[in-house]
Symmetry: C3
Subunit: 125 residues, 3 copies
């Protein structure tokens, strides 16, 4: 079953979409299988990371920008090649195991849509 979600991202951030994914799994009625969370943008991505301390995603933003900064050699006219690099490093999707109708996430795992600036839509099956 396909569910589509969108959220409005005002700034570069990691947006916790775990509740939406859990809701979609419940709605689907799947008891054993996989959930694929896919983001149809090229300057955004899906990642799984800590859901407890908001300082973790604060640090992820800094660390990613240090690893993949804008560079003088970049040619792309929109000037957001750093965001494209981070998108490929994060990946466009996450695949999570469903058992007994629930996502098998670890205690500290949350599902995040990382978005550079633009509107993000999380497609989900």
């Amino acid at each position: 079953m396909l569910c589509e979600y969108s959220l409005s991202a005002q700034r570069e951030d990691f947006y916790n979409i775990t509740p939406q994914v859990c809701e979609a799994v419940t709605k689907s009625g799947v008891t054993s299988g996989i959930a694929v969370i896919f983001c149809p943008h090229t300057t955004a991505g899906i990642t799984i990371n800590e859901n407890a301390d908001p300082d973790v995603v604060h640090d992820l933003l800094i660390g990613l920008n240090k690893a993949f900064p804008d560079r003088a050699e970049f040619r792309h006219g929109e000037g957001n090649s750093s965001a494209h690099l981070k998108a490929s490093a994060m990946g466009s999707s996450a695949t999570i195991i469903i058992e007994n109708g629930k996502l098998l996430l670890g205690t500290w795992q949350g599902i995040y849509l990382w978005s550079s600036t633009r509107r993000g839509i999380g497609s989900f099956m």
Copy 2:
């Protein structure tokens, strides 16, 4: 259904394999499900990124080489540990949702085989 593709990569680059993946989805007759694109090499990978401006992949190549350069401390005798690092950062596969017999890619998304130098084979189910 499993389809296998190979392409000859003369140099490090991102090769757009979206047409081959679309063709395989059509051939499979799957109307609703997922496509898994898997690359069986350790110095190559699969990523989804912008399909419009070729400067984006030009910048990705630069940005990845800056983030994961060759280093004096590296021990691997083949001298391509930088390529192994980029392979793990990109990932060996992409998973894409199929609905109504079509890949649910965003408008600007293309599927790329990133290859360092060697021949790449894209396995696909």
Copy 3:
């Protein structure tokens, strides 16, 4: 079919879990499909890389720590934001095609649990 594995990681390293995944595929009796290997931790991940020369994973550890070092600006109190960054760069899962009852891995590909320090559990379906 869901199989769960755990291993005790004494130090940051890449642990080859290919034998466990192959065993689980055989046990499942699946002849054609996919295997999803999922790690429920936020300072660990799953990646596919070279299984032949142990110097490759030695170099991966160095290269990842150089790309995602600890930084003075980090706020997370546990002091392991570098590990959280590497977890998002590696990814929490790998998806591999199964055909004729076997994982379609390339000759040089092994499946690795990268763990920073904590105990890792590889969930697998």
